[in-house]
């Protein structure tokens, strides 16, 4: 009796092995440099937003506690006190697992690409996807900081703003680190995309039938 073809289960086995390897590599060797990237890129963004010095905008303190100097608008009378004062700062402390969590998307993305069929230029997909995923952590930390500022200083802010920040913080903190690597792999890897979603090219021989059908007629594993 022929065994049913289940490419998704073979993929699950491959991705599990690859993820174990990539996660070990990430945890043992790469998490330090990646956290330094998150610290630096977040500080540059804060520098651009609030006019703080990049060296002090994000500081990693003893015990792995991060301190973010978040810009908040200066009080209305600040302009009288000192010319050009637009921002004051709120110092936020966060535990290191929060920025670390933002970098876990990388080993997951690498595992997905390594487990997917490796056509020509797969390594370019790996590099390009890695570059895309490196953009998310500083943006997510800024969203986290904005949410913390709103809850601390402006608890009675307009409901739409509160809702938007709750939503953005939930997406960036809980969903993005895990969903972004899968979405990036599907978006950047054409063979993987076809495997999961089916063919996007019309099959000339079955074109007339496809018009009646809700899905493509080619079965591509």
């Amino acid at each position: 009796m022929p065994q049913p073809d289940r490419p998704q289960l073979r993929f699950l086995a491959r991705v599990s092995v690859a993820f174990a390897a990539c996660l070990a590599l990430w945890w043992l060797l790469l998490v330090g440099p990646l956290l330094e990237w998150v610290r630096f890129s977040t500080a540059v963004l804060l520098d651009a937003a609030g006019g703080f010095r990049t060296e002090t905008a994000v500081i990693v303190q003893g015990g792995g506690v991060w301190m973010i100097q978040a810009p908040v608008p200066a009080a209305p009378d600040a302009a009288r006190l000192g010319a050009g004062v637009r921002f004051r700062s709120l110092k936020l402390q966060l535990e290191q697992w929060i920025p670390t969590l933002q970098t876990v998307s990388l080993p997951l993305f690498w595992a997905l690409i390594l487990a997917a069929p490796r056509g020509r230029g797969w390594w370019r997909t790996l590099l390009f996807g890695t570059a895309i995923l490196l953009v998310f952590p500083p943006v997510s930390l800024l969203v986290y900081a904005a949410h913390a500022v709103q809850r601390t200083l402006y608890p009675h802010a307009a409901a739409p703003l509160r809702g938007l920040l709750d939503f953005a913080d939930y997406v960036c903190g809980t969903a993005l680190p895990y969903i972004a690597p899968v979405a990036t792999a599907v978006a950047l890897h054409p063979q993987f995309r076809v495997m999961v979603l089916g063919s996007e090219e019309p099959d000339a021989g079955t074109e007339s039938r496809k018009r009646r059908s809700p899905v493509g007629t080619r079965t591509i594993d």
């Binding site: 998704q8 699950l12 599990s16 993820f19 997905l112 939503f167 997406v171 969903a175 899968v182 594993d221």
Partner: protein, 166 residues
């Protein structure tokens, strides 16, 4: 496929936004505490001991886990539902996929909650690692595989249907 790639993120973000609505948040909180109750019952069934208090699963020795958003698999359920709902397939197939996929996903999530409970009792460092980095990533991969398996079944059934009708 372009339609899918456009509608999927829209549907996903709409699903996450719905979580902020009070009635949905209330229902999710009830669902989360029922997950903890089921986890406690399963632990008892297999001879273990656990105390259940709302969304907290505690051991008699004092270790406790609090199941919150992110650990209740609601985010990956929204991920799966978004993918299935926008994928071009007959509605009956979609309903079957939603039901079966959700059941499989939450069975895996119960395994996650119970395994984290035991891991936390014996090693806090490993608990933190598995909780934050390992299990959540694996459950997203499982969601992808569940969706892929369903989409494959849909494509094959349509292929067979088309072959039969000539």
């Amino acid at each position: 496929m372009r339609r899918f790639l456009f509608l999927f993120p829209v549907c996903l973000l709409a699903g996450f936004a719905l979580l902020e609505a009070y009635p949905v948040a209330f229902a999710v909180a009830k669902f989360t505490s029922s997950l903890v109750t089921i986890s406690g019952a399963l632990i008892h069934l297999f001879g273990g001991r656990a105390l259940v208090d709302g969304v907290i699963l505690a051991s008699p020795e004092g270790f406790a886990v609090r199941v919150e958003n992110g650990c209740n698999a609601v985010n990956v359920t929204i991920l799966l539902w978004s993918a299935i709902l926008v994928y071009p397939a007959p509605w009956l197939q979609k309903l079957k996929g939603l039901a079966a996929g959700t059941l499989i996903l939450h069975a895996i999530n119960l395994l996650r909650i119970i395994s984290l409970y035991y891991l936390g009792r014996y090693n806090r460092s490993w608990f933190e690692f598995a909780h934050l980095y390992l299990w959540e990533s694996l459950i997203v991969v499982d969601t992808l595989v569940i969706f892929w398996g369903w989409a494959l079944v849909v494509r094959r059934s349509v292929f067979r249907q088309n072959a039969a009708t000539g």
